[in-house]
């Protein structure tokens, strides 16, 4: 910022000086010229600076653009990983909300054909360990089957059930249980 101001000041000064000298006198032209020369001499430096600035800003812009793209990709990836789908108690059927989320995930998988994923099936703490392991298996497979129906190759999707063993929220109430009845997506 200070640099910019300094150069702006310098340029203004030079231009004002040049105008002054040009208009008022002819005699000290050499000096003038020298002054101009000085100015001219100074100019390229300024121009270089400007060019560098432009270059820099261009680089910055492209970096920013790249960053934005990367950020977008990362955001998409993050959304893919962070957005769980949720289930009703004792159910492995996909809700309409879950289907919408899965459509977005399918889109991401289409855009990232090299990615393969693991779908984790989880349950809330209620019910037996064994039944919940089976239910988690069904939840993960329900999500997988939906993605496969949308055209994603089954070979890219692995499933694992954690039953009630890895709750997201350790609470013992419906709010916690609702969070824990989920399929979670992991990129391998």
């Amino acid at each position: 910022m200070d640099k910019k101001r300094f150069f702006a000041g310098l340029v203004t000064l030079c231009v004002v000086c040049a105008l002054l000298f040009t208009v008022s006198c002819t005699k000290p032209k050499v000096k003038e010229e020298s002054a101009t020369m000085e100015t001219v001499e100074a100019l390229p430096a300024q121009e270089t600076e400007k060019a560098a600035q432009a270059e820099q800003s261009a680089a910055e812009q492209s970096a920013a653009e790249q960053e934005a793209v990367a950020a977008e990709q990362a955001a998409a990836r993050e959304a893919f990983v962070n957005e769980d789908i949720h289930f009703d108690f004792d159910k492995a059927t996909l809700t309409s909300e879950a289907r919408e989320i899965l459509k977005r995930k399918a889109k991401w998988l289409e855009e990232n054909p090299d990615a393969s994923i693991v779908i984790e099936g989880h349950c809330d703490e209620r019910g037996t360990t064994e039944y919940n392991l089976a239910l988690g298996d069904r939840r993960a497979k329900a999500a997988r089957d939906f993605l496969v129906d949308l055209g994603i190759s089954a070979s890219r999707i692995d499933t694992i059930s954690y039953g009630e063993e890895r709750p997201l929220d350790p609470g013992h109430n419906e709010a916690a249980w609702a969070k824990n009845r989920r399929a979670h997506f992991v990129i391998r």
Partner: protein, 441 residues
């Protein structure tokens, strides 16, 4: 099992006067023995050798015996302060006993004991008396090392149980369970009464659903040791472990009575179905063929029928399968969530876990009449019931104390629930072994 028995009996000497007394004794009917407990007196044992360790053993192991008898829920132990006689002073044999003094304090049975410790060899002799008949019902002398003392006392407890109730009780059985005290769910085994808990798995993953083979020598469970839910089968004698892993879940093991074979839920074909697999890890055949979850097998004592959980009707319910024909019928119709069947090892009743109004409680259904009884109510969530090998007790997990799941034992009719053992963390999925189990070392 036989080897263990033989080993123990090698150290047992039958006392002479015992033999004549058994024949005419009537067993007590045990339809509901827990409401009318049998009053028994177990005075402090008598030191028979002059040493500090004999005196200490005499004191300590009299308490071990009364605790073990009380644990069965059959007996009420008469307060030692009420005793008129002190057999430690007056003597422990038939001729030394003044039965009137025991009748007067309400005892129906009396156990006396004597202990000698000479050069590290422990000899313990016990006598069981019928106070009303003034007879000795059993008398035995055992010899062993210091470390065998508890085992010797429990062995005579089995004699007492057999003479009075007709079954030897569960004094040589063990209980396997899951505990999270070390930060991860690991498998543990403890004695029938919660003593001597030993950790079996040490893999810091998730270990679940322990299941005993019917000879008490093998334990199966589910573990995420290698990242996925696989089945592990351990030979408890040599600690050798076999892994069974197929695509999908490998969970919910239950051994077939009398065979080195187990049922488990696998999902390698997509659906979660129950299969028979050998103890060495080969699939024998598929048992269930319905769409949906089939899980939690439990066999009838004769191995001919299997109870299991299926959600084929939309909600988890208990079903019954006749293994010879595959015929299947639904057993539970009340409620929308019935799981965890455990078949009583001696009769045709199945304990299970039912959710009503969001709370889990333990119920028992009679297979013949389909009559259902609730055993727990109003005390947190109560899950994972499993019968003792003699069918007289039920071990289960409950959140009744502060919302943390812990293991409790109650009588078969739901009375006398007491916490089994105190360990840090949560304890779940208790599974009672057959009458004699190999120790977890």
């Amino acid at each position: 099992m036989r080897a263990v028995t033989k080993y123990m009996f090698a150290a047992v000497f039958l006392l002479m006067p015992v033999s004549a007394c058994f024949a005419q004794y009537d067993y007590i009917k045990i339809s509901n023995p827990f409401l009318h407990k049998i009053p028994i007196a177990v005075p402090m044992f008598k030191p028979l050798s002059e040493s500090q360790v004999a005196r200490e053993t005499a004191d300590r192991y009299a308490v071990v015996m009364s605790d073990a008898l009380e644990f069965t829920r059959y007996f009420t132990l008469i307060d030692r302060d009420a005793f008129i006689d002190r057999p430690r002073q007056t003597g422990i044999t038939l001729h030394d006993i003044n039965f009137k003094n025991w009748r007067d304090i309400g005892a129906e049975y009396l156990v006396t004991g004597g202990v000698s410790v000479v050069k590290g060899v422990v000899e313990m002799e016990f006598r069981l008396f019928d106070v009303f008949k003034g007879q000795m019902l059993a008398g035995k002398r055992y010899r062993g090392q210091m470390k065998d003392r508890r085992r010797i006392v429990l062995r005579f407890c089995g004699e007492i149980m057999e003479k009075i109730t007709g079954n030897r009780g569960c004094f040589q059985s063990k209980i396997a369970f899951v505990s999270s005290g070390d930060g991860n769910k690991e498998i543990y085994i403890c004695d029938f009464d919660g003593h001597n808990p030993v950790r079996i798995t040490k893999n810091k993953s998730i270990n679940l659903s322990p299941a005993w083979s019917s000879d008490g020598r093998a334990l199966a469970w589910t573990s995420y040791k290698l990242g996925r839910p696989d089945l592990y089968i351990m030979n408890l004698l040599d600690r050798r472990v076999t892994r069974f892993s197929m695509k999908g879940v490998n969970i919910s093991p239950a051994w077939v009575p009398g065979k080195f074979m187990l049922a488990a839920t696998l999902s390698f074909e997509g659906d979660q179905e129950i299969y028979l697999i050998t103890g060495s890890g080969k699939v024998v055949r598929r048992l269930t063929w319905s769409w949906g979850i089939d899980v939690s097998p439990s066999f009838s004592p004769d191995g001919k029928r299997m109870a299991f959980v299926s959600n084929r009707s939309g909600t988890p319910q208990i079903y019954l399968m006749y293994l010879d024909t595959g015929r299947t019928e639904r057993l539970t119709f009340d409620g929308r969530y019935n799981t965890n069947p455990s078949w009583n090892p001696v009769d045709d009743r199945i304990a299970y876990c039912a959710m009503e109004n969001g709370v889990f409680n333990i119920k028992v259904i009679d297979v013949a009449t389909r009559k259902t009884v609730s055993l727990t109510a109003g005390q947190g969530d109560n899950e994972s019931p499993c019968w003792s090998p003699d069918g007289s007790l039920i071990v289960f997990s409950s959140t009744r104390d502060g919302g943390v799941p812990r293991i409790y034992v109650m009588s078969a009719v739901g009375t006398d629930a007491k916490r089994l053992l105190v360990l840090p963390g949560e304890q779940t999925s208790p599974r009672w072994s057959p009458a004699v189990a190999v120790a977890g070392r």
